[in-house]
């Protein structure tokens, strides 16, 4: 009988569990530890325009995931307007439409961006070089002279772009540059010259983030495709400096207009922004994600169901504690998984109240059950009677605790009553058959297991890990399977079988 399939399954579970967890950590930036703080920017864009008594269509470019930032949530406020989000390879857009509008209009768009240094921009294939409209004379000579000058002094696309920017905007600005600038904006000119020289480049709009700033506008930046690194390099069109500043959020990267309004005049968009810190887990909870199939997670459920799952996902931890204590230590418990359910109740009641409540209920229950055994009832009827007894005890304790002003006593109701009834029944039988010593051993073992399971399940780190990484469930499964295959000694057997090893010694 080969154990190979078994180890294969265990290995597969471990592998899938670890990969899934690491994937969630890397892809969704869920930290391994709870309580990590993450910086979040709240940015609001306000679009103002005057509508001209007719249909209006407003297109606003929207930011996407990019290096340094991730989109968490986004909202719009626009009374009476129809709204649609659109996405293509050039970027995302929001489109507001209305059949008839007049007067001054205001549309709001707000987005939460999570600062995440590890975030990477989605892979972009370089666009083809747009067809270059030829310059008219005398601009054509000026343009080609500028290009040749910069070309000679550069080694690759990036340095070529830098030289070109310096020639047009920097101190080296010459006559040619000044001539061309009469025709075009500096950044548009630079992109056009780059394209003319066969370098893929585009003009992008970015927002410099500063806490508490209002009425900001987008600034123009230049991206040049670096053939060797296969990625876009960002240049400041004013200084020729390469690289993206930490506080620069790229708003539009497709080379399109940021704002387009049809049916309106005087349109403009302005931005205000705020930053704040929030726990990473909360940041993750608001996570905005398009790939809902891949992002198979509890967090896509409504909040109420999430809270339920938070508890359900802890049960395997309790089961692991039980398996560990029974298989490796050899602790005797009354009812295999009863301690897990008691531990779940402890989570609601807190440990001390829970322990006191549990002991009181079981002790009183045992006394009453003792009387019931004189009545010689059938088992089902007897256990049912014990259930009613347990409910009565819990009610009385709750009322007493309330009267005495002990609000902690009210949480006794969280105990699973049917489980308690069975515990009392089992302990009572055990008492009759094996005596009070066994009741103490098994009851104590159950309580010890429950307390350890509670400590494990109530640990903030464990709660965080089980709730946020579903892959951990597979890892737990693998561990439990492995423990189920353990044929070695239990810890308590080292004590039990001690007398045998003793007489090995020469007497």
């Amino acid at each position: 009988m080969s154990r190979l399939p078994f180890y294969f399954i265990v290995g597969l579970l471990l592998l899938v569990g670890i990969v899934a967890s690491v994937h969630r950590h890397v892809q969704f930036e869920i930290p391994w530890f709870p309580g990590e703080q993450r910086q979040v920017w709240e940015i609001e864009a306000v679009i103002n325009f005057n509508a001209q008594n007719g249909p209006v269509q407003v297109d606003l470019a929207l930011p996407s995931h990019q290096s340094g930032f991730r989109v968490l949530t986004e909202n719009t406020a626009s009374s009476g307007y129809g709204l649609a989000y659109q996405a293509d390879e050039l970027g995302r857009q929001a489109q507001w439409t209305i059949r008839e509008a007049a007067g001054s209009q205001q549309l709001y768009y707000s987005v939460q961006m999570l600062v995440s240094p590890d975030s990477r921009a989605p892979i972009q294939t370089p666009p083809g070089i747009p067809s270059v409209t030829p310059w008219e004379s005398p601009y054509d000579t000026a343009a080609s002279q500028l290009i040749d000058r910069a070309w000679d002094r550069s080694a690759n696309n990036a340095t070529f772009a830098r030289e070109l920017i310096l020639d047009i905007n920097g101190e080296r600005q010459g006559e040619n540059a000044r001539l061309l600038l009469t025709q075009m904006q500096p950044s548009a000119l630079i992109v056009r010259l780059l394209n003319q020289a066969g370098v893929q480049a585009r003009e992008v709009s970015g927002l410099l983030l500063e806490d508490g700033r209002r009425r900001q506008t987008l600034s123009s930046w230049i991206q040049v495709f670096d053939q060797t690194a296969e990625e876009w390099a960002l240049f400041n069109p004013a200084t020729g400096e390469q690289g993206q500043p930490d506080n620069l959020l790229l708003w539009e990267t497709g080379g399109r207009a940021v704002l387009e309004v049809q049916g309106g005049t005087n349109s403009r968009v302005s931005f205000s922004m705020l930053t704040h810190y929030q726990p990473a887990s909360a940041a993750v909870r608001n996570h905005y994600s398009e790939d809902t199939l891949l992002n198979f997670s509890i967090h896509s459920l409504p909040l109420e169901e999430q809270a339920l799952f938070q508890t359900i996902l802890l049960i395997p931890i309790g089961a692991l504690v039980v398996v560990f204590l029974r298989v490796l230590v050899g602790v005797k418990t009354s009812g295999t998984f009863m301690p897990v359910l008691i531990a779940l109740a402890f989570i609601q009641t807190t440990l001390l109240t829970g322990l006191i409540g549990f002991l009181l209920i079981v002790a009183v229950g045992l006394i009453i059950r003792n009387y019931l055994s004189y009545l010689n009832l059938l088992l089902v009827a007897r256990v049912s009677a014990v259930i009613i007894t347990v409910i009565a005890i819990i009610s009385i304790f709750t009322v007493l605790a309330y009267r005495m002003g002990l609000s902690a006593g009210l949480t006794v109701t969280f105990f699973p009553m049917i489980i308690l009834a069975w515990t009392i029944e089992r302990m009572s039988i055990l008492w009759e058959e094996e005596g009070p010593k066994q009741v103490l051993i098994q009851g104590g073992g159950s309580l010890l297991t429950a307390v350890l399971a509670f400590l494990a399940m109530n640990n903030p780190w464990v709660r965080h890990i089980t709730f946020n990484f579903l892959g951990v469930q597979l890892i737990l499964m693998a561990f439990i399977l492995l423990l189920g295959n353990y044929t070695g000694y239990r810890l308590l057997e080292l004590r039990r079988f001690k007398p045998i090893t003793e007489d090995e010694k020469p007497s």
């Binding site: 009988m1 298989v327 050899g330 010689n376 059938l378 088992l379 089902v380 058959e433 094996e434 295959n485 353990y486 044929t487 070695g488 000694y489 239990r490 057997e493 080292l494 004590r495 039990r496 079988f497 001690k498 007398p499 045998i500 090893t501 007489d503 090995e504 007497s507």
Partner: protein, 332 residues
């Protein structure tokens, strides 16, 4: 560090060949005992009928009571029997067993001397049928057997209760054996953890190897004071054959057989256990592992007689009780 005295190292247990719970459950019970065979041993009536079929001696069956209606006709069944035992077929751990030693003037006397009327017995059987003593409270069947007359040679070693002999049978080979002697501490019951004395038996001869009470060595019976060293189970070979035959009977590879010695009929099978405990290792002062490993290497389909001979040859041991006469004997 005094509490460490009570603990040992796993390596030392392994050297001794001790089998732990986990190993027993996975390697032996899980591998050799098919689940579907369990009802054969968990129901004493089934075991008994099966044993009769296979010619294995068991206490004689007087009759069974299966319905509450049948309780009323029980007195007819008991006519002419001077001693009998009422057992629940699905009981465990000796619960619900009623022993009647003699019947006089319509009164039934228990071994303790207490007398019962016919109504008392009927009520006991009625409770038994409704599942008072069975596992999980399921409806049960009462099995009424003739009383066992214990072999007198063993009576000196026991206090009140029944001295029974447990033989572990692995793949049909008797592997290890012990005798359980009830004591005052165990309240006449033969349960080791309640204080009965366990005596390891030499598989070759049926002679005592060592005695253990509460897991500590013991050299004489704590109540009768009788020296354990002289204990030899009579008709040992018959007993081994009987135990080994239970393998063919049940098909269970790892089996605990509980036997008693009757004055007239010799060794008898009392009950079978598909999950025999590990305390037998304590009473023998030896682990089961080496013996089980040796048996696992033996071929299948060996006849009973050969298996018994093999076990007697390979598992023979010297008694620790007689070899060390100098040691003080009253340590229990």
């Amino acid at each position: 560090m005094s509490w460490l005295k009570n603990w040992t190292w796993p390596t030392r247990l392994r050297d001794k060949g001790i089998v732990g719970m986990n190993r027993r459950n996975i390697r032996y019970i899980g591998r050799y005992n098919a689940r579907r065979l369990y009802p054969l041993v968990d129901d004493k009536l089934k075991t008994k009928l099966l044993a009769q079929q296979y010619g294995i001696t068991t206490p004689e069956l007087i009759g069974t009571v299966t319905t509450q209606f049948g309780v009323k006709h029980m007195s007819e069944m008991l006519i002419g029997h001077h001693g009998f035992v009422v057992k629940p077929a699905k009981g465990s751990g000796g619960k619900g067993i009623l022993v009647i030693e003699k019947v006089e003037n319509g009164l039934f006397y228990k071994p303790s001397g207490a007398s019962l009327t016919m109504e008392d017995i009927e009520r006991h059987v009625s409770n038994l049928l409704s599942g008072l003593y069975s596992l999980g409270g399921s409806p049960d069947v009462a099995v009424i057997e003739t009383l066992i007359n214990f072999d007198e040679s063993l009576l000196e070693y026991t206090y009140e209760g029944v001295p029974d002999i447990r033989v572990i049978v692995f793949k049909g080979y008797p592997v290890m054996a012990m005798m359980r002697l009830s004591t005052a501490a165990s309240d006449g019951k033969a349960n080791l953890h309640q204080g009965a004395v366990g005596v390891g038996l030499n598989i070759a001869t049926g002679a005592a190897l060592r005695g253990v009470q509460f897991d500590r060595p013991c050299y004489s019976h704590p109540d009768t004071g009788h020296d354990l060293a002289s204990l030899v189970v009579p008709q040992w070979e018959t007993l081994l054959h009987l135990a080994a035959g239970c393998y063919e009977m049940t098909g269970l590879g790892y089996l605990g057989t509980d036997m008693v010695l009757d004055r007239k009929h010799g060794p008898m099978l009392l009950e079978l256990n598909a999950r025999p405990g590990l305390a037998i290792q304590m009473t023998n002062g030896e682990g089961l592992r080496r013996r089980l490993d040796l048996i696992e290497r033996q071929p299948d389909n060996v006849p009973v007689a050969k298996r018994v001979a093999f076990a007697q040859h390979h598992f023979a041991r010297k008694s620790e009780l007689t070899d060390t006469p100098d040691t003080p004997s009253a340590t229990a």
